[in-house]
């Protein structure tokens, strides 16, 4: 199959390793992965602040870039959530609808579409705390949120448990928001940061060495918080672990 690689703006600028891991990982499964060079962003930052009309041109560009692929895959839950659930500043033509429906977040793509059952190259002999970002947990339904009465499942945990040597630790508030929240991290800087401090402290208390997540934006925020208050945690995107990174 032909996969369009969607690398969100902040991953492009700050976390190229995540983009490279995503690309290599998808290629390991024998698919043709193409990175459309003219891509920029999905429009979420504006939409998240209520400025939907301001997203129209960016959304149109996204559709131009990603039309014609069997799937569009990106390593960022909140961006994929935007494309799939809120991407409506432009007219919803058949083409737009197809692009939106075919856009997947990496974990769900590996779990639901490729149904990967082994990562023989991957080993990560560390204690990790899994951070389910809110976008992936509650919108894309990566896992059972603790608020709901339903049988437990966790797609990222399913994938990570196939990695050699990995050990999970559980924080006291496993699915509480870390406080990033897109533009919330700026408009409510103090509350956002306090949530981040609490989050990284919770993980550290549980004994985590690494925080792993399918969302680099939450990791960027948590890393910034941990470094500021001196919590010695390391942060890694799930794509890097699944692609064989071992530290």
């Amino acid at each position: 199959m032909r996969i369009g690689l969607f690398i969100p703006c902040y991953i492009d600028a700050f976390f190229p390793k995540v983009g490279i891991a995503t690309l290599e990982l998808l290629e390991r499964f024998g698919h043709e992965v193409v990175y459309p060079r003219d891509q920029t962003c999905c429009g979420q930052p504006m939409a998240n602040s209520g400025f939907n009309a301001e997203c129209a041109a960016t959304e149109a560009l996204f559709v131009r870039n990603f039309s014609g692929f069997d799937y569009v895959v990106g390593p960022s839950g909140s961006c994929v959530h935007h494309v799939r659930d809120n991407f409506d500043a432009i007219e919803q033509s058949a083409e737009v609808k197809v692009v939106r429906a075919r856009t997947y977040e990496l974990v769900e793509f590996l779990h639901d579409i490729l149904k990967v059952d082994a990562f023989p190259w991957a080993g990560f002999p560390h204690r990790v705390g899994l951070h389910n970002s809110c976008g992936t947990l509650r919108r894309l339904k990566h896992a059972t949120p603790s608020e709901l009465h339903e049988p437990f499942f966790s797609k990222p945990m399913d994938l990570l448990s196939k990695v050699d040597g990995i050990e999970f630790v559980k924080p006291a508030r496993p699915d509480e928001c870390c406080g990033f929240g897109g533009t919330f991290s700026v408009f409510e800087e103090v509350v956002s940061t306090k949530m981040g401090y609490d989050k990284v402290s919770d993980h550290a208390r549980a004994g985590a060495e690494y925080i792993v997540s399918a969302d680099s934006s939450c990791l960027m925020h948590q890393q910034g918080c941990a470094e500021r208050i001196g919590v010695p945690l390391k942060f890694i995107h799930i794509a890097e672990i699944l692609n064989g990174a071992n530290a």
Partner: protein, 518 residues
């Protein structure tokens, strides 16, 4: 691995207990957690910390929730206690939920009941009025807050009543009822302990169920010392509760009239139901001969059998207890007494016409969304500067005044936990998101934000300009405010480190390593 206390020193946003070193994090390790938000709380090793006050409200000017939240967080003992207390309720709610196998079906049923009723509101209200009158209840209709206050004043005047005891009611807060009563010289005494504390402290309730949840015991000792003359250094809960009982009971016994709210109004029976944990509504309703109930029109349900569904959800969602202590049904005046019900609209029928927001009227005021909200827990309810705070407040308050509450829908990380705990399945976080769009459409957002978003939209839709702007990660970092946060203020770095710039962007890596492919 754990954090060493030295690493945390000198950070004003961390709690002193954490900074103290010995027994850091012990509250988790020993499973020694708070017991119940309405009961005993763990004594904090405290140096006196003044209680942070809520948002500064200036007429119709937009309330600055973020500023008030910042002051709440800057009072770490209050913030920590508040966060822990409410999280404790959330955990108790989860345990109760797991005891009910059909929990999700109950939520769906409750939602369907409320939606059905709201779409047939006129019929059920008519039915209630007819049955209630037949039961001997006087039924009044109030279009807005002012009319509500006038009607109640009229009833009290007719009876020559000079004092009123009143069970906590968010609707009367919404109507500014206590201030109005003060202006016409009628004394109002709250019978709910938490609400009485708030009344004595001249503060609004900060939570729909637990009105004084933001106060430490030492704050309460302080309020009581200043108002009812208790020992300011004694913050023992039994002592304080007893002193309050001694002070208030005579006022209750002597009151001319009593007022309650109503959690549910049953159309088929013409009755209404009040749920309290202290039995204080029963005092308000039964001690004086005159009972007035102020009830929002959205509280109606068709039949008693529907009540069973909602009552099973209410207290479990609110406090994590299987049942409220008192679930009292009122069906008519007692012998020699008089009963009045004031049905209040105050913007509700207008809200019913808002396509994206009408389901907010399903709310049964359990407060579960507030307890689970990580922003609310760290901000305190009074930071919202509105009658309704937390997630439900973010979507209701702008329907009262879109300009004044224009900042509130932004006081959310849109994490969606509120939607998941809501017993009547209000899509709260989606309505918060919808309000942001609506406020931008109405221009109820700052112009500087608008300009920044417009610029971001233009940059992100033009690949060449965008590439130039982030030619390298270093350049991107220099542009961080514009690039990541899209406004002119670099708020990111105040309490957080900025990301470490990598050697090259993904885009340039791809060009160098996979140059031939496109």
């Amino acid at each position: 691995m754990s954090i060493s206390p030295e690493q945390l020193l000198d950070n004003s946003m961390l709690h002193p207990e954490v900074l103290a070193g010995e027994d850091a994090y012990g509250i988790y390790r020993n499973g020694h957690r708070l017991d119940h938000a309405e009961g005993a709380s763990k004594p904090l090793r405290s140096r006196p910390e003044p209680q942070p006050r809520g948002a500064k409200v200036h007429g119709n000017r937009p309330v600055n929730q973020a500023e008030a939240a910042g002051r709440f967080i800057a009072a770490p003992e209050h913030e920590k206690m508040h966060d822990e207390r409410l999280w404790d309720l959330r955990q108790k709610r989860d345990r109760e939920m797991h005891h009910i196998p059909e929990w999700e079906e109950l939520r769906a049923l409750a939602s369907a009941i409320k939606e059905h009723t709201l779409t047939h509101l006129d019929e059920y209200l008519d039915q209630f009025e007819t049955r209630a009158r037949a039961n001997g209840i006087h039924v009044h209709w109030a279009r807005d807050a002012a009319e509500h206050n006038r009607i109640v004043h009229g009833i009290l005047s007719d009876h020559g009543a000079k004092s009123l005891i009143k069970s906590k009611s968010m609707l009367t807060e919404e109507c500014g009822f206590r201030a109005y009563m003060a202006s016409v010289g009628i004394e109002v005494v709250e019978t709910d302990l938490g609400e009485r504390i708030q009344q004595l402290d001249k503060e609004d309730p900060s939570h729909v169920v637990v009105p004084a949840v933001h106060k430490l015991r030492t704050d309460v000792a302080n309020v009581f010392a200043n108002t009812i003359g208790t020992d300011p250094d004694n913050s023992d809960v039994h002592y304080l509760a007893e002193a309050q009982r001694e002070a208030t009971r005579p006022l209750i016994l002597a009151a001319d009239a009593g007022m309650t709210g109503g959690n549910f109004v049953v159309a088929e029976t013409g009755t209404f139901v009040v749920c309290t944990n202290e039995g204080n509504a029963d005092l308000s309703a039964n001690v004086p001969k005159l009972h007035i109930a102020s009830i929002g029109i959205e509280k109606i349900i068709p039949r008693l059998e529907h009540l069973a569904v909602l009552v099973r959800l209410l207290s479990r969602s609110a406090l994590g207890s299987p049942m409220t202590q008192y679930t009292s049904h009122f069906r008519g005046p007692r012998a020699g007494g008089e009963m009045h019900v004031v049905l209040v609209d105050n913007g509700r029928s207008e809200r019913l016409g808002l396509e994206e927001f009408w389901t907010s009227l399903k709310c049964i005021r359990c407060g579960a969304c507030m307890n689970t909200c990580p922003v609310y827990r760290r901000s305190g309810g009074l930071s919202y500067g509105a009658t309704y705070s937390g997630p439900i407040g973010l979507i209701i308050d702008p329907t009262f005044n879109a300009r004044k509450y224009s900042n509130l829908p932004f006081a959310s990380s849109l994490n969606g936990s509120c939607t998941n705990v809501c017993p009547v399945k209000i899509n709260i976080h989606e309505q918060i998101y919808a309000w942001r769009r609506e406020l931008v459409k109405r221009h109820d957002v700052p112009l500087v934000k608008k300009a920044a978003m417009k610029a971001a939209g233009e940059l992100l839709s033009r690949p060449i300009a965008y590439r130039a702007a982030i030619a390298s990660a270093d350049v991107a970092l220099a542009h961080l405010p514009r690039f990541v946060i899209y406004n002119g203020l670099n708020a990111w770095g105040k309490h957080r480190e900025v990301p470490h710039p990598p050697k090259q962007t993904f885009h340039s890596w791809y060009k160098a390593n996979r140059g031939g492919k496109q």
